[in-house]
Symmetry: D2
Subunit: 303 residues, 4 copies
């Protein structure tokens, strides 16, 4: 298997696709991103790494950050997290508030917005936002083995000013007692978390601890890694998770910045980026690219 050649062909194929999805327009700082960009990076279990396309372009990882936040929160409070958030696919859009009403303020899972806000609220406990974000960045930088990863403050500020739906979710959960801090505080932290900027090479490296490679067991126990992968396969692409599992066959977590982190357990950590989104809010070409990659490499968790 010539992985370099596979990535090259995928990148070429993606460059010619006329249907590139639609760039997220509800976050002003993301609305102006050029949809023609595409990048893919792969880290193998043996440490080798391959990239193709715009792999040195930084993008806003947005909801991909929910994986790191979940790992951090589970490290902090363990299974206690599950008293405040569920582990089931919601069957609804990423920013839906409907089930929150029916289920009394307890979000379905940590990968929809409501659940991720609870996760942030959890790792924020006992800390200032700056300290909490400091802890998260230490985790991400250690995972990626790269001290250069930073938060794009302008994106965070843009979301604080316009993220009304997330404020609605936070206030709604607060009304059910499922938020421990003022919405401003938790969401300030959450929006900064979402504004972490990486390129695909960094993101693929940062995802290696989810491959269950033995040398990264210090970051998270194998059991917890497996469970985060389970949540990624059932909930990682919102109400497009079933389709992603069906087509790609690997756990992944997407973000509205157009990035997707995909894990082939024991084999590879994959990051793909293309800003145009499908109607679930996941990268349109990114999904197509990892579907092709999985087919060409034979990587699948399903045998």
């Amino acid at each position: 298997m010539d992985l370099e050649q596979i990535l090259h062909e995928i990148t070429q194929d993606m460059a010619t696709r006329p249907d590139r999805g639609r760039v997220a327009n509800y976050i002003p700082q993301l609305a102006c991103i050029d949809p023609d960009q595409f990048a893919i990076s792969v880290c193998l279990a043996d440490g080798t790494q391959y990239s193709c396309g715009d792999a040195d372009m930084s993008f806003s990882i947005q909801s991909v950050s929910k994986v790191f936040a979940l790992a951090l929160a589970l490290g902090r409070v363990g299974d206690h997290l599950w008293t405040r958030v569920g582990r089931e696919p919601s069957g609804q859009a990423f920013d839906s508030i409907l089930l929150l009403e029916q289920e009394k303020g307890r979000p379905r899972n940590p990968f929809i917005n409501a659940g991720a806000i609870v996760t942030t609220d959890t790792y924020l406990e006992g800390h200032s936002p700056a300290e909490a974000l400091g802890g998260l960045m230490r985790f991400v930088r250690e995972a990626a083995d790269d001290e250069d990863i930073h938060i794009d403050d302008s994106v965070a500020r843009s979301e604080i000013a316009t993220g009304h739906r997330n404020f609605a979710l936070a206030h709604y959960m607060l009304s059910h007692g499922n938020l421990r801090h003022a919405p401003d505080l938790t969401l300030g932290t959450y929006f900064h978390q979402c504004a972490i900027a990486m390129n695909t090479a960094q993101l693929a490296r940062a995802g290696r601890f989810l491959m269950n490679s033995p040398d990264l067991v210090r970051m998270l126990s194998p059991g917890r890694v497996r469970r985060i992968n389970a949540l990624m396969i059932t909930c990682g692409q919102y109400d497009g998770s079933g389709d992603f599992a069906y087509r790609v066959g690997l756990p992944g977590k997407s973000g509205v910045g157009g990035g997707i982190l995909v894990i082939a357990p024991g084999q590879a950590s994959i990051a793909v980026w293309s800003p145009g989104l499908n109607h679930y809010g996941n990268s349109h070409l990114g999904t197509l690219a990892v579907e092709t990659l999985a087919r060409d490499t034979g990587w699948s968790i399903f045998g």
Copy 2:
């Protein structure tokens, strides 16, 4: 790894559990089953097979049959099936009709009742119910390599007389043009499909084609097997699918008869049975048993 010993210990452990779930009471023929029963069987890739507990007791496989029906329907009409049914977790109970209204008669996935009725409606096309069921039984018997597997007619009749919720689903889909036969015809076939009786030894053998073992590729292509496994992990336990993926880490499909078929791709086909159900309608001790088995064997699709 001493699999025999592991199965023995699990069976002993389950025998002592006081909380055994509740036997399904809405199907009269199932309501009188003794909840103290438990059985587990495992078929390995090398053909060896292990069983423990009441592994020669036949039970009604009920919704586990949806996996065989899906395999048959995909073999018949291929991806055309997906024009009539989705591939996403519903986030609702197995017999919910709510999303059918919002989504104009198109069920979310083939493992909730509405979707399974469409699957039956699909493999029924061009056949009488008797012929269609004959085709299904040939498939199941070949998969299990066992000509003795049969349909329990009294269970089927019991469900025809009492399965009002399923009649509602069928009529509702018919009102949206998503049923090709009269509800009586499709549901008559569907209830007989659900009334297939097996013991865990038979069911574990019947599930081997989903392990992607090379000698059973004649039954279904490896790509299709992977995709059925993907549907099992995201949708196989209804609104308990996320929790099952998290705890067990393997694709599975449950039935209200208390059976669960679980696949460790490339490694094992597992059948477990205990009639008491948890509140999602999945076997309570069965889930616990395969969770233990996965932990003790290290089988997981998540690395």
Copy 3:
């Protein structure tokens, strides 16, 4: 006030309207009705009666029959009916099944389809369908003082063959124990009830007992009449009830045949008919006509 002149002007106005709504297309026998037809009839408390337009054309009263069925059922079982059906607006379409799931098979009110099926199931109790319909027709004929009113059998048969949504509702309620007869029996009766044919002159006369005119108190007590009017104002036009109350200011009950019965308590019983429907399933021009009539006459229950 020259009522004859008012009705004449309304009829002329309606004749020139280009937007006539859309004729119900899901009942084959109704789909071919000419949408240019319009009729209006008014019975005053003093017994005088005025008609204009196609007032001798019979039409299928459809859901307007729910008012007569409710009066009959309340006469038979009294407030016991409310153990099986609610008295609240549903906020959903007339044939919605969604709330039935959330509220365990108990319909919100007797004027949406599910609730009307329960009402029919109630007056059917202890009778054959023919007897039950005989009782209903006696009630309607006595109310209208007209023995010529009949049921259009071809419409009833058309609905039996195509009313899949109503079968879904009936089976769903049966699954919750809120239907006492087989769906075929109750729905056979229900579809015949809906297929009562009248012209507006007959319908306006048939509605006089809802004006609380003293000479019709033998049909229903004043207290019950008031309560049926209360249900008409809050629930009589499905999810368009609020708008109807706001614009027209009088209780009414619509049917997909294009008829509306409207009551000005103590003053008038009004029937209007025009086959084209608005998007709630209520007569588009019929609503407009009674809005104009109410404004021109000053009839309003709101002072």
Copy 4:
């Protein structure tokens, strides 16, 4: 008819009722109100006024204020208001956010919280909160002919600190562009509006303009008065509106402070107060009292 005697008997009857509902506990300032209190006041069309019970005790009118706010907003922007809020019963609880998601931020009617927030946002336009509230208080004081009516600031502050559900609604509508001011501003105004304090004598007087008495036509045109009454009968008691219309037969608007304003068009303006609520959030004994009053006086809009 001896109205004084009727009110006296009702008040005595209510004093002996053991089931008094439950005092709203989610607004701290209201949670400590003595549930044994009861008052009722009636203003007749001829200007005479009767009161019984604790009619000089001030209470927080809460959502009864939505009627005055609606009258004010309609006076300001006319039917333009209906571009932002509907006129249909929601079929959901007063603080539900569910339909807001399905209907893209447009509340069903101005009497549920979301719709009332939009109404406040409307009369706030072009003004500071202090000015806007000044305008509202002028309207209320003129209606009641009483300059002593004031806002209870401690209640308003209590709600600002704890009204998380309303903040969720406001942010959610803002996310759909259906709020013109910052949530803090609109809700600050809204909570002060809800904190208007009156006794039943004042509230009954303040409601006279809704009777369509000729001498108060300066406050609102007869047509608009009828329409507000229409909204009160279909939506005034949230998801208990149908039951209220059925039992009481008069338009009314309730508040969680335990007050209800009820209108017998052309005849009487009625205010009742008892702090214990039924499960819809409407005064339990208040509803019972006006049901008895309507029966004993024969007041009904339904003939």
